[in-house]
Amino acid sequence: MLWEIDLHPRAGTLDREAASVAAEAAELGITGPLEIYTARGFLIESPAIDDSQVEKLATELFSDSMVEQPICAPIGKAALDAPPNASGFAGSLLQVLLKPGVMDPVASSAETAARDFCSTMGDIPIEAIRTLRKYWIAGASEEQLAKIGSRVLANDAIEQFFVGPLPFDRLQLGSEYQFALQTVELDALDDEGLMRLSLEGQLYLQLAEMQTIQQHFAKLGQQPTDIELESIAQTWSEHCSHKTLAGRIAYRDENGERQFENMLKETIFAATQELRARWGENDWCVSVFRDNAGIVRFDDENNLAFKVETHNHPSALEPYGGANTGIGGVIRDTIGTGMAAKPICNTDVFCFAPPDTPVDSLPPSVLNPKQVMNGVVSGVRDYGNRMGIPTVNGAVYFDARYLGNPLVYCGNVGLIPHEMSFKEVQPGDLIVSVGGRTGRDGIHGATFSSAELTSESETLSGGSVQIGNAIEEKKVLDVILALRDRGLYTAITDCGAGGFSSAVGEMGEEIGAEVWLDRAPVKYEGLSYTEIWISEAQERMVLSVPEKNWEAVRQLCADESVEATVIGKFEPTGRLVLKYNDQTVCDLTMDLLHNGRPPVIRQAEFQPAPVEPVALPQRDDYTVDLKKILGSYNVASKQSIIRQYDHEVQGGSVVKPLVGVQMDGPSDAAVVRPVLDSRRGVVISCGMNPRYGDFDTYNMAASAIDEAMRNCVAVGADPSRVAILDNFCWGDCENSQTLGSLVRAALACHDLSLVLETPFISGKDSLNNEFSYVDADGTKQTIAIPPTLLISAMGQVEDVAQCVTMDLKAAGNRLYLVGNTNEEFGGSHFSLVNNLTGGAAPAVDAELAKQTFAALHQAIRQGTVRSCHDLSEGGLAVAAAEMAFAGEVGASLDLSKVPTSAESVGAVGRLFAESNTRFLCEVRPEDATAFESQLAGIPFACVGETTSETRLQIDEATGGKTLVDAELAELKSAWQSPLSW
């Protein structure tokens, strides 16, 4: 029998959900006035429970009598149809449920708890539980109701909604699977047929690749099975093999032509290899570009692992689930690094279309950017917070071109003992799956992420969208660390894109593997052998366990309520053999999977556009410009997001994302102390400048590296111990110009890395970030994202007591500007708020940058710097304003003192240019001599002082025209208000 327990807000308490639905409906233009009541509910299937027992379950387990009123009844009863505290309500009931098979963490915890509870009332079986949400709405037309249902209440990718009572009386639990081996008639297909198969089978392989597969099987005189094709497609997917960037590329730019056999290897990896060779014995890189995360040395006992991933395509369709599983996935990457690292902090960077994009202007199937932003933030929040990993760093960028392709970068740092940094599967080891069960969720995520999104993606690829279950992953993490410390396994990796197929394929690459697919625990009946193999169900790790340790592994996992199952064996055959009920369904050589992909030569070209002059407006007062930049979305305070993240769990927080008197100033970087009885700190920061890429992606990449370094150095990191990661998100790289702009950025990464002696240790790319739709006139439109390179930096500080923050500390101190200002306005925020075009993107003088970082670091180490902030978007004026209002200390600056590369740099340039490698530092008068001597040889000047007034004043010259004059409160309000919902 199916029972329902509804929990309504107790009479007299606020119905928060109703208020938020009303607000979101109003954004769709449905203003009503609407009368809304909400409830959350549980559907409980049990053959034996009676009404008094359900009542007891409702009052003692499910509801809180202080704030909630439960109503219980068998499904179909009238009591469930009306809100209890709304007499005379005449409206409609909408009910929202997760689609069958979508992860429902609340239901799964509720099942466990209800079974335990019912065991205390005699042995009452609980078969299944599902959750639902109920909305009673009056004041909306039928059409409006449907719109509220589909755009506010339910996301079709994962949820279904019903108007009126539920049309079922039992919970669907899947049906039995009948094994039947599927083969694919490949030999009969012509090129067109091959491509149709590639597309319709969601393999997303290119023609040459399909032909190679066809020839391979023709030579064997066999037809492939479906699972063999899938295994090849997964392994050869862009997501898993990075075939574009790690492939052959013919590149041409204004400096001539260059052929790459493996572009990434010859640019970014090559720089790291050269640095490691240069350092010799002092090499502090441990494992780079080979494992799930890059590893560097930290202290005498521990190393640090760092990885940043993207989860763009799923987040476009279902922001909450996409971001949720994005952070869950990258955490598994660090857990799956070496013999398992312990995650110590997260970093998250997002790119969205502006939140005020008119809803009416959205192309079909595109979600409202504000909804995307809220969903993504909630997804990261709920997963990161539950995992107990502090989210300490991040950024949010806005550009209209992210409308169809929002970007979600999730990063994680892990701590790993030196001796645990490497792993090696041994022949004969058991293949053990640990953690979540396998379901139909996430089928084709790896191949899907290699495809362009279209307005139909929502229906085609719903299966690749998932919800995470953070508590499952937390349990897995706890038990993995215990297993690791007892030395019970020889290797570990995560189940990410491609599921078992990728995890086992990677681990068994050098040896061979046999997998017994029928043994994998499944969430429900009915999964085919192929679905089990390629499912990307979350929260699963794969271990290789020596047979003698299996019993201990099993016991320890059971102790912590984690499921562990032997699903196969690493057999020294060099083959991948898959069986279902003892029948072989796949038999491929590892060589074909990992080396069989045909090389494709891609063309890439880049021609820098000639620099157009920018017409800078000349005014008597630039206060308004400053406020506009402070209030522009990229610069504006992200406090409403940051405060939803736990940034202090694990007890090592040193420099928080928000600093200053009111704890609301924008910190340059975060510092955490991962070992509680040590003073050594980890510094996390990032740099990203998509707007510069519209001018030249070389300067964009160089600027992003410089910015990430500046942010690290500004809080006290040692610039000779900063490791960085690259994450390329680009458009369609089959287009030679798009690919050219990427190669050019990679060349900048190579050059900067070598000069700064800052190694890249890991990276990832996400290509094909383009969105196509057919507009009202029937024309196909494509929106490509701007080239977007995220540089994430991980620095170190020997004693966290040396760290500085960006808030001004006291009146009467000197303000020094370090670094040269050039008139660089291309892609600047001054141009953005004034609608200016032209100019050149800021360049980096890498040699000077290296010296500047080293000199400033020494000055900070010696304690001569009271506060320090890097100059980025909005230049000097914005940096000074942020420092002043964060510290509630006034400042007065003299622009004539600003060090410039040329006399001709005017007032606007000195105020707002975004030249790289610049810092504003507060120094006590008594420390000035020491500070200045540390910076000898670097361009710097004392440009002003801190004051006891609560204003920021910037003059053209001492006694000259005042160009900026504002109360700190006004500036802060301009900065805080745009994103303060």
């Binding site: 606020l14 928060r16 938020s20 003692e60 387990l61 499910f62 809180d64 009598s65 202080m66 704030v67 963490p105 609340v106 799964s108 915890s109 509720a110 466990t112 708890a113 335990d116 509870f117 205390t120 929040r381 917070n385 539950r386 107990g388 953070a470 508590i471 937390k474 349990k475 102790d559 912590e560 309520s561 405060r643 939803q644 993240y645 940034h647 202090e648 769990v649 694990q650 007890g651 090592g652 927080s653 040193v654 420099v655 928080k656 928000l658 200053g660 008197v661 704890m663 102390r673 509680l676 009885d677 966290v800 007591a801 760290c803 500085v804 923050t805 808030d807 500390k809 506060s867 510290g887």
Partner: protein, 251 residues
Amino acid sequence: MPKPRILILRAPGTNCDVETAFAFEHAGGQAESLHLNRLLEAPQLAADYQILCIPGGFSFGDDVAAGRIFANQIRHHLADVMQEFRAAGKLVLGICNGFQVLIKSGLLDTDDDRGPTASLSWNDSGRYLARWVQVSADNKKCVFLAGCDELFLPIAHAEGKFVARDQEAFEQLEQAGQLVLRYSGNASDYNPNGSLGDVAGVCDQTGRVFGLMPHPERFIDPTQHPQWTRLPKQGEGAGLQLFRNAVRFFS
């Protein structure tokens, strides 16, 4: 005098166990982490300890409601053990999620014959909030708060709003001296979640069982203070006092 032994009781989703154990050790205790499953299998294990602490986190995902599933495990399977523990003059501390567990399991003497009189519910904002708050302590009754007055500590929760069944129930707890920690200060948002009576922490009638929403284990080192770069050098964080009080209670 041997060091008092502290049992850090963790469940699936507990995530502040390591730093809480560190705080107790730093205060001079000997802390050990134990999975709830072990205590359910062998409740007598509790007898080996003087202090039991339920640390912060999201036990069982906070699914259904924060701390509820853990609390029900205590109500149904560990009630006797916990009562014996308290009757033996020992200490129990619940931090954040641990406070949610304690109040929902009835261990804070907040139940009467009509059922629970107080609970912790969703923040007024409807969302998770991480920030620092000022709290003022009533240090007369509660062992953990001895010598404490005004404290500055971080909170990080979504369901920390203290609610009472009715005014009468609230007054009863107040008169019993159980509402020992309250959000304070002059800022307009000094009460971060809308708690009734600004309540941030509650103790039982003996003063030896205590739950609080702020995280004292996150302010042990001076560099954990959000404004430490503005302040004169300090020796330790204010949160350490609570752990020291607990450890010293047994010396």
